[in-house]
Symmetry: C2
Subunit: 339 residues, 2 copies
């Protein structure tokens, strides 16, 4: 019989289809169509109209970048202008001020982050950290969202050159808000971080843990929405992703590479997304509301392979059907080679 599982953080029920459980070879995905013309992200071919915002320079050739951050050519949010808020009858709106940036993760024409070397992934993570710190200084912004669309079915576009995006927004997003509110409620009741509790419980049960190193743990969440969904947590409690540095950052780079490689090998280079969930900025303005956030919230990274068509009712209901049991997915991923 299938199971209904509730995500303890978000409170979302998921149907876990135990009987027609899909195995890795059951999934097909649409390969990206061939790209026309030159890659706009390769070194030297860069469109001069694209504004460079930040880069990590190459140690042996300072003219060359290792990671490059540029303004998105058609940004979803406008980089300059004063923020206004207004009501229109019962509707609320804000003008679209914010940041929308592209992180080009390597000068080489490589399609999947899984194929970057660990030190290069470490530089990408360092870029995220530095851009987040930069956005935190902008008083108009409440949140910086770091995410990746890799492959055609994941919204990654036609150009196969590995990159991620950063969106800085003047509002907190609904899902983020819910996560924060529920984490806060759990803390009020238990005086413990819900994510720390999840990590401890998963370490005891072991069935959903994929990998662990000194700093990080990767697991398939109990109420996975998608087959082969993976969450990576820092083992030491921290609410802000941008506090990550040193060996912990390198640990995450190594784990990220290993997980992405396992997904690539196991699922034939699937399209995937990841999103970093972190605490919002401007907490000093709502001290009372965020009184315990340093203790109650725990940043993490959510990786979702895009193997199934998401049907209509997920959108309307926030109710998902996951056709691979998370414990089975974790076992496949533990056993998959990472090369």
């Amino acid at each position: 019989m299938p199971e209904l599982r509730k995500d303890p953080v978000i409170g979302r029920w998921v149907i876990v289809a135990t009987e027609r459980a899909a195995r890795p070879k059951d999934f097909k995905h649409t390969p990206a169509e061939a790209q026309e013309g030159e890659c706009p992200f390769c070194t030297g071919k860069k469109d001069p109209a694209i504004e460079e915002l930040f880069s990590i320079r190459n140690d042996s050739n300072r003219d060359q970048w290792d990671v490059n951050v540029v303004r998105n050519r058609s940004p979803f949010l406008a980089p300059s202008g004063e923020l206004w808020r207004k009501g229109k009858g019962l509707y609320d709106l804000i003008n679209g001020v914010g940041a929308h940036e592209l992180v080009i993760e390597t000068p080489a024409h490589i399609g999947n982050m899984a194929d970057l070397e660990v030190p290069q992934i470490d530089k990408v993570l360092s870029t995220y950290v530095q851009r987040m710190r930069h956005h935190e200084a902008d008083p108009r912004l409440k949140y910086a969202l770091v995410f990746k669309n890799s492959g055609w079915d994941a919204g990654g576009g036609r150009v196969a050159h590995t990159r991620s995006q950063i969106i800085g927004t003047p509002v907190n997003m609904k899902r983020v808000k819910e996560e924060l509110e529920n984490a806060k409620r759990y803390f009020e009741y238990h005086d413990r971080c819900i994510f720390c509790d999840i990590i401890r419980q998963e370490q005891e049960l072991k069935e959903r843990v994929i990998l662990e190193n000194d700093d990080m743990i990767a697991l398939c969440p109990f109420a996975s929405r998608f087959p082969f969904e993976v969450w990576i947590f820092p083992k030491r409690h921290a609410c802000d992703f941008y506090t990550l540095d040193g060996t912990a950052r390198t640990s995450l780079a190594g784990m990220l590479k290993e997980i992405l490689l396992k997904l690539k090998v196991l699922l034939s280079d699937p399209p995937y997304n990841y999103v970093i969930h972190t605490a919002p900025f401007r907490r000093q303005n709502h001290k009372k509301y965020w009184a315990t956030i340093d203790e109650d919230y725990h940043w993490h990274l959510e990786i979702t392979p895009r193997l199934t068509k998401v049907a209509g009712f997920e959108w309307g209901t926030g109710f998902y059907i996951c056709t691979t049991v998370p414990e089975m997915a974790a076992q496949y991923l533990r056993e998959a080679a990472a090369r």
Copy 2:
């Protein structure tokens, strides 16, 4: 400059991209691959292993059905068994008891509901109503979700024979719960239904209204998540979809056909989903909680064409980017022919 708009019911912010506003011809979609073998939904070719649950018989030939409801061959939820709930450490689970049915909307091999005659669509709506009443009598179920996946990119599968699905669940879905809670909160403050207020405001402003008849109104919602998203409301307040009958049901059938035809003509037969949002069952068990639901909640139907790839961050954040301004979409839809 783009705008950030907040959905007044759900409280979800949406970026409305005003500058790179996409027009109908800007969207491409994947046509479904050719189907192999015979259609399993056409009359007489039906798999005898599929259990018929309900049908509306043809007036002139009682051996023939006009609308047929069958159990889904691989249902997401098991139809029989007792419901249990349990905790597993900090996780909650329920066994997957519930209903999962297919509504075959016509014996003819027609792919899009838009191409059914109005009386046939009326029979489909009548089927929804009767199945919902049936599920309400099952004490294990809290909700019946009626939805449609039409076309490959909308999760409609390879067989182009118009059909919809009904899922009866032992839990209330997250998005539904949020809608109900927010509608309740609005009612507590204003003593008015938020949806009735939206309808009144839209009737005054006119810019987002597509169609109106005596009983129904169709509009592009202020904070549309998707280009050309359409919501249809009954103009007379009612919280339960299954109270719909007589002329109001025929009005909805007519409006649904007109909207689906306009979408078909305007957007070259796009994949789309619709979901009926209605009040939950078993309200007598939580009388205090649902004390005002008859007054505060308003059923409606949400149609979402699937024209854009949904990227990673929407999943992680509940934050959407809509590349067609809803007022523009409404104008296109008002002007589109419905044939």
